[in-house]
């Protein structure tokens, strides 16, 4: 048995763009409409975010902007609470907490990358130490249940209080990755 959530609009609430929020059914006896979110492009995500919908697109550009050049297929970040109401052509990555998706600060980005490319997550931490809040990062790691991945790439080096729950990659291997310099 699983819990399914829905997206409903109460009478009087601001509506989401009609091409993005597609009504699926009218709840019998109540003036509420159930919607599904249809996301086909980055622009759709931007528009939905403007309306306060917690979705985000993880792109190579976003990761590169934060100091680590990496090519990969963009992924739609979806909080678990919305998973069942989002239809998309993007590969999706589910996050436990809406807040991770809503803010997408550098700490949130690191947490997301721990699910996608752990080595890249470490490099993002190293390259953003001066503007990173270690307390928030630790909180995101706990909330998203990513202690194992964080341990594997030894994020405890940078975040005091983050326990090492599994053995990390060999120190020399991490040091070699840290020493890599990529182009512009």
């Amino acid at each position: 048995m699983k819990l399914e959530t829905g997206l409903f609009r109460e009478p009087g609430e601001h509506s989401l763009p009609r091409d993005l929020a597609v009504p699926v059914s009218k709840t019998r006896g109540r003036p509420k409409l159930e919607y599904r979110l249809r996301v086909k492009s980055e622009a759709d995500v931007v528009r939905l975010r403007r309306h306060g919908v917690p979705l985000a697109l993880l792109t190579p550009e976003l990761v590169a902007k934060n100091g680590y050049p990496l090519s990969f297929r963009p992924r739609l970040l979806v909080p678990s609470s919305l998973r069942s109401v989002v239809e998309t052509t993007f590969p999706t990555l589910e996050l436990r907490d809406e807040e991770t998706v809503r803010r997408m600060s550098v700490e949130d980005l690191v947490a997301v990358m721990l699910k996608v490319r752990r080595l890249a997550a470490r490099q993002l931490v190293r390259r953003n130490l001066d503007r990173m809040d270690p307390v928030r990062l630790a909180e995101r790691v706990f909330v998203e249940n990513l202690l194992g991945s964080a341990s594997r790439v030894r994020l405890s080096e940078f975040v005091a209080g983050l326990p090492q729950t599994v053995p990390s990659m060999p120190e020399a291997d991490l040091a070699a990755e840290d020493a890599q310099v990529y182009g512009d």
């Binding site: 990659m169 890599q180 990529y182 182009g183």
Partner: protein, 194 residues
């Protein structure tokens, strides 16, 4: 990575007399998987030995250096710098010669693409499995999580048999299996690890 940049690197290397086989992240990226923004190429043994002579003095090449089986540098393209690594095939050739491995890879595990002669993914995984660092096993695990077919590992083993280093590859596969249990098929869309 911008294919024009990859093409610029391979065209530059061709002008310098290298027969370059593209391996590494560029190959995986063309399969829809992730890759870092550098261009790794495999070259013949004699060409690797001459890499310094051919490249070090060129004004377009910056920060060139050779470390054991890799020659690294940056190609200057206007205001961009593209990192490239030349790999010595002897590192991957097991009991046979480096040139035998290079020819085998070129003839049997590569195709001609718009960016140049490009390795097939199982060859890239074979090379990654042979590198000591666990970082390369992580990359394979990530590719599998992204939907890469586990059959590529079988094909990597097939390559290993040709060069009598199957035992080594099997050891690495055991380690990879500790990092990420390997199924018989790709994992589909991105999956949470935990």
């Amino acid at each position: 990575m911008d294919p024009r940049h990859v093409r610029s690197v391979t065209a530059f290397l061709a002008r310098k007399g290298f027969q370059a086989l593209i391996v590494g992240g560029v190959v995986m990226e063309r399969q829809g998987l992730a890759g870092t923004t550098d261009v790794d190429v495999l070259v013949a043994v004699s060409e690797f030995a001459e890499a310094s002579t051919r490249l070090a003095g060129d004004p377009k090449v910056e920060d060139f250096g050779v470390e054991e089986s890799t020659a690294k540098g940056f190609l200057r393209l206007g205001n961009k710098r593209i990192r490239f690594d030349l790999l010595d095939p002897s590192y991957f050739s097991g009991t046979r010669s480096g040139d035998e491995f290079f020819r085998y890879a070129w003839n049997h595990w590569a195709t001609d693409e718009d960016i140049g002669r490009t390795a097939l993914p199982p060859l890239v995984w074979y090379t990654r499995l042979l590198v000591e660092s666990e970082a390369y096993l992580e990359r394979i695990a990530d590719d599998l999580d992204d939907g890469a077919p586990a059959e590529w590992l079988d094909q990597a083993l097939q390559i290993a048999r040709q060069f009598k280093n199957e035992t080594r590859i099997r050891e690495r596969l055991r380690k990879l299996n500790e990092i990420r249990p390997i199924g018989r098929s790709g994992a589909g869309n991105t999956r949470a690890r935990e």
